[in-house]
Amino acid sequence: MPAPAPHAMLPEVAHDEMAAQDFVATLRAHLASRVAPGVARIYEHRALPRFRAEHQRDPADRHEVRRLMSTDGYYQFWSALQRRSQEMMWESVIEPVERRHGELVERARRLAGETGCGSLRLDETLEIPRYHTAVDIHLQPGGYHSDFRADDVAAGAIYDTALPIYLGGALGARNDALGQILVGYLRARWPDIRPRRILDMGCAIGNCTLPWAEAFPDAEVHGIDVGAPVLRYAHARASALGMPVHFSQQNAEATDFADGSFDLVVSHIMLHETSAKALPRILAESHRLLAPGGLMLHLEIPRGDTPFEQFMFDWETYNNNETFAGYMTGLDLPALACRAGFQTEYCRIERGGMDMETGQKNYGDHEFTFPILVGEKPQAVSASARA
C-alpha cells in the first residue's frame, strides 16, 4: 500500500494506531485476494450445480444468486469477515481522529483563515437528504454530514484516512486516482478543451476536485457536497496544498448557480449514493448548469456484467449500507440523461480504468473499469465556448 502523501490536515497516527490500520489493510487484502475469489469457485462448483439440478436452468439475476449463496457456508464466512473488516476500518481510523479532534478542528480553522485559498460557503439550513440520514452509508458512523463539535472536520479526516485502506491504496497517495482517470479521459477525448468554470458534484474532501484544478489552473473550480464537516476539511486540505477551489454546501439536485454557468460538470462515485428520485434531478441540474458546448462527466463504480459478478458488487447494497447502489445495476443512464434534457446523440457510457491487483478489488478478480456517463450540450449557434 503506497504511503499517503502527507499534508497538514492528515491526522498524525501513533504507533499502535498505525499497527491497527495496517492489520485491517492486511485483512482486507487477504479477503480480496484469497477468500473472495474462492466465492466464485464455490459458486461454480458447489452452488450452481445444486441450483441447476433443482431448477434445470441457471440463476436469472443477481437476486437469485444472492438467495442461493446466502445459505452457503463459505460465502457466509467471507461475507461476515468482509463486513467486520469494513467496521474495523472505520474503528481504526476514528481512533486517531478522536484523540486529536480538537487539534484538527483548530488546524482547519487556522489553514482556512491564514492561507485563504479558494473559499468555503456553508448553509446551515440545507436539508440533508434522507438517503444520507436513514443509515450511515458504507458504515461510516455519522456519515459525511454529522458534526460532533463546532466547526467539525472529523468526518473529512476519517474519510481521508480510510480511503487508502478501503481500496488497498489503489486510489493513490492523494486519494485522487478517480479524478485523474476522468481528467485523463477528457484529455484523450477532447485534447483542445479549455473549460473556464468546472463543477465537481459530491466532492466530499475535494480529493478528486484537486486534479481538475491542477489540470486547468486558469479555470475557476467549484466543489459541492451536502456534508459540512467534509467540506470544512476539503477547504483546509486544499488550502494546505495551495489549491484554490471554491467549496459550497449544496444539494446537487438543486444548486444556486445560474443557468449555463459551467463548461464542465463532473462527479466521482456520487450517483450510487443518492436515490431513484434524486438521480434524474441531478442529471437535469447538470444539464441546466452547462453552458452551450459544455460537458457532463459522471464517473461511477462498476456493477458487474454476469449475474454472479453483479451479485458480488451488490454485496455493498445489502451489507455495507449502500442501499441505493443495487438499483444502478443495469440501469440505462444515458436514457435517464436524455429524459433529463440531454439529446440522445449526445449521451453515452464510456469507460475509464487503472491497474489494480486482485487484493485491491474487494469482490473478486473480474474486470474493474469505471463507467463514465458522458453528456454533451451542443453549441447553440456558432460561438466557441470550449475552444
Binding site: 499502535d16 457466509q76 461476515a80 463486513r83 467486520r84 476514528i94 479532534h101 455519522g142 438499483y327
Partner: protein, 128 residues
C-alpha cells in the same frame, strides 16, 4: 489506541454505524464470536508489531538482553497503565455487543436493507 490520553475537550466519536447489521450465520452467536475473533487478531497483531519495534530498538541501542524482560515486574504506575490498556482492548473486542443494544433500544430502531432499497428505488413518478 483509545488507552492514550485525549487532547482537550474532545467529544467522543461514535463507533457503531446507523443501520441494521445483517445476520450471516444461522445462529447469531456465531456472528458475534467471529467478530470477536477478528478483533482479537487485530489486538494480537498490534501487540506483536509493538513488541517487534521495542526489541529492534533495544537491540539497536545495545540496551538489554532477553532475560531482563523475563524478570521484570511492573510498579504501581505501570500496572495502572496496563490495566487501562487491557480494559480498552476488552471493550473493543466486545464492541459487537453494542450493536445489539443499539438495534433493540435505539431511538430510531434501524430498518432493513430491503425496506430502504425499496424506498430509494421507488419509481419517482409514483412518489409525486
Amino acid at each position: 489506541m483509545s488507552d492514550m490520553p485525549k487532547s482537550g475537550n474532545t467529544a467522543a466519536l461514535p463507533r457503531v454505524s446507523k443501520g441494521k447489521r445483517p445476520q450471516y450465520f444461522a445462529d447469531p452467536a456465531t456472528d458475534k464470536l467471529l467478530s470477536m475473533v477478528v478483533t482479537l487478531m487485530s489486538e494480537l497483531s498490534v501487540t506483536r508489531d509493538r513488541l517487534d519495534s521495542v526489541e529492534r530498538l533495544l537491540a539497536h541501542h545495545g540496551v538489554l538482553d532477553q532475560s531482563e524482560v523475563e524478570g521484570y515486574r511492573p510498579d504501581a504506575e505501570a500496572a495502572a497503565a496496563r490495566e487501562q490498556r487491557r480494559a480498552a482492548a476488552t471493550a473493543r473486542i466486545f464492541r459487537i455487543l453494542d450493536n445489539e443494544l443499539n438495534e433493540t433500544l435505539g431511538p430510531d430502531a434501524p430498518r432493513t436493507y430491503e425496506e430502504l432499497a425499496r424506498e430509494f428505488a421507488a419509481d419517482p413518478s409514483e412518489r409525486r
